[in-house]
Amino acid sequence: MTLPVQLVLRVLLADPAQEIYGLQICEAAGLPSGTIHPILARLEGFGWLESWWEDIDPAEQGRPRRRYYRLTQAGAEHAGHALSHATSPLAGIPALSPRSAGGPA
């Protein structure tokens, strides 16, 4: 499993029930644009991830709809298992979340 995939999975696993859109995943994982879409497409193809359009009227809100992503139940289990067996240096990092990015509280 590559490092970017691990980063994306860690972001999604931080709160598996939370719906999150592409730009948020980019920012939380610290990955550049364009990197996450192939990863998300792969995970979606495996059935680990589900996605749907935000239910809003773009004209009313004044912005386009967002595409939200969330791990499926099976996906969350598989992702947790895969991350625990990951061999990249990221496995040694205890936490990669926005909270830990700012240093100790």
Binding site: S33, G34, H37, P38
Partner: protein, 279 residues
């Protein structure tokens, strides 16, 4: 009797002194303008191969633009039309500077684009080799990257031309309005608008057209079934970026990365599609 005659004479003298000072100030400004013009032409004749030199040119351009405007305004308000040739010269000089700066930015943009494409191309080659893919995959990636590179060059060129036109037209409007007295220096909002237009600066928080088009091209590289979805998703992300205050350059970088990684996304989507077809 002496005092009665002395007052008008004193006023005349004061007026003469004021005129002399105005003339001296005008001469000083004209001298400065001529010096700026000399420096600019000297700079333009020098080699423009490095970006540092281009930045120096941009700095010169700003100073010369401001000086040229000051001279033009001053002439409009205080001196007769015999000095209009100086304003025309200032106008011409400002256009030359704007064009010079536009060329420098376009060159930097094209270099950045080339660096990104080259790096991604190397990455894709490494990926293809690592996964021991079919050589056709590598050729496919190469073809798309070549296409993206040409597209990037064309876009950089188009962007360059658009900036030239925008800046030139802004400067011409600025100077024309000043010359007819319709834009007094005391109208700060109008002056700011014209200055921003002339200097090519855009407000942040606006969704720029070129990144949206690039995102559209990135979506066109994907399988037909996924194009509409990703086009809307990309445009949504660019809109979010713009709302968050990202400038035109950031939006362009974001869209460019979407474009350079579109072949990888296409490969993933095709694999996922094959997995769904084959039980």
């Amino acid at each position: 009797m002496t005092m009665d005659r002395g007052l008008p004479v004193g006023l005349d003298l004061t007026a003469d002194l004021a005129n002399d000072r105005a003339l001296a100030r005008a001469n000083e400004l004209a001298h400065n303008l001529a010096h700026a013009s000399y420096c600019a032409r000297d700079l333009a004749n020098t080699s423009v191969s490095t970006f540092a030199l281009a930045q120096a040119g941009a700095s010169y351009s700003d100073r010369a633009n401001n000086r040229a405007r000051a001279v033009a305004n001053y002439f409009d308000l205080d001196l007769d039309h015999a000095l209009v040739s100086y304003r025309d010269r200032a106008n011409e000089l400002a256009r030359d500077f704007a064009s010079y700066r536009a060329r420098a930015s376009a060159r930097a943009l094209a270099r950045a684009l080339d660096r990104v494409l080259e790096r991604d191309f190397q990455r894709y080659r490494a990926l293809a080799s690592h996964r021991d893919r079919d050589p056709a995959f590598d050729r496919d990636i190469f073809g798309h990257l070549e296409f993206a590179r040409h597209l990037g060059d064309d876009l950089a060129h188009a962007s360059h031309l658009a900036r030239d036109i925008e800046r030139d037209s802004g400067l011409i409007v600025d100077f024309n309005l000043n010359s007819h007295g319709h834009t007094p220096a005391s109208d700060p909002d109008r002056h700011l608008e014209l200055t921003a237009k002339a200097s090519g600066k855009r407000r942040t928080g606006e969704l720029a057209r070129t990144p949206v088009r690039l995102a559209g091209v990135a979506a066109r590289l994907l399988p037909a079934a996924a194009r509409a979805r990703y086009r809307e998703e990309y445009q949504g992300e660019l809109a979010e970026l713009a709302v968050a205050g990202a400038g035109r350059r950031n939006q362009f970088g974001y869209a460019l990365r979407l474009l350079t990684r579109a072949p990888l996304l296409r490969a993933e989507l095709r694999s996922a599609s094959r997995r769904r077809v084959v039980p």
